[in-house]
């Protein structure tokens, strides 16, 4: 397969340190966290605002990349599904997609409410939410 190179633009700072103990989704008791960006991308952050909801893309570097089927939510009682029908971190490109609310911004440090990614998780991108993302069709 052809491949491309990802740049790490920051890291998650979180009290969560255990991959296996992390909540599966943000609304399942995930703590607040700080997104710590590298100085090179400061200009890209300048229009972010406190109170805004954004999409955070991370690289789940503890995940396995050779997995194509999983038991949903790790529950062995449930039938295996193809990974592209699940949010399992284990998949060919373990990109995490997290909807987060910004609660404070201080230069390269962006504080968010309820993030299920663990401490040290590399950050790849931040995108605004669009109306079409959240509308029910």
């Amino acid at each position: 397969m052809t491949s491309f190179d990802l740049k790490v633009i920051g890291q998650v700072e979180s009290p969560l340190t255990e991959f296996d103990a992390a909540p599966r989704q943000a609304d399942e008791g995930a703590p607040a966290a700080v997104l710590v960006f590298v100085p090179e991308v400061l200009g890209g952050l300048r229009s972010l605002r406190q109170g805004q909801e954004v999409l955070l893309l991370t690289w789940l570097d503890r995940a396995r990349r050779d997995v194509l089927s999983v038991h949903p939510r790790g529950d062995a009682a449930r039938q295996e599904e193809g990974v592209f029908s699940t949010r399992s971190p284990h998949r060919p490109n373990p990109i995490g997609l997290h909807r987060v609310e910004i609660t404070a911004i201080d230069g390269l440090r962006v504080r968010v409410r309820a993030l299920e990614a663990i401490d040290g998780t590399p950050i790849l991108d931040v995108k605004p939410l669009l109306e079409e993302d959240i509308s029910l069709r």
Copy 2:
């Protein structure tokens, strides 16, 4: 910066061939397209269903990666914003995020309605939509 390696798991087949002429969002007249996956990931596709809406992640390989500020929607009359507050393809990691509806599945070929990515765009991941993605908070 540290970096990670992305695997290309498929390609977009689309009548859109011009990067600059592509619609900016799917609801702006984007045509139907086919997601053509590589045989190595077939097992990951097996639980996808016709009629389902999914999130498609692509690598926008024509984009510039050294851009941190853009005029929203390319409109020079609008003030520049940090790229992390826009959906511009030009950003440090040009990952495209597209909400698409599956209209047909034939082995490694998955047909979707209204996709704004151009022909040949590399595919990185497919994820199901979660309730928390689309709910208004």
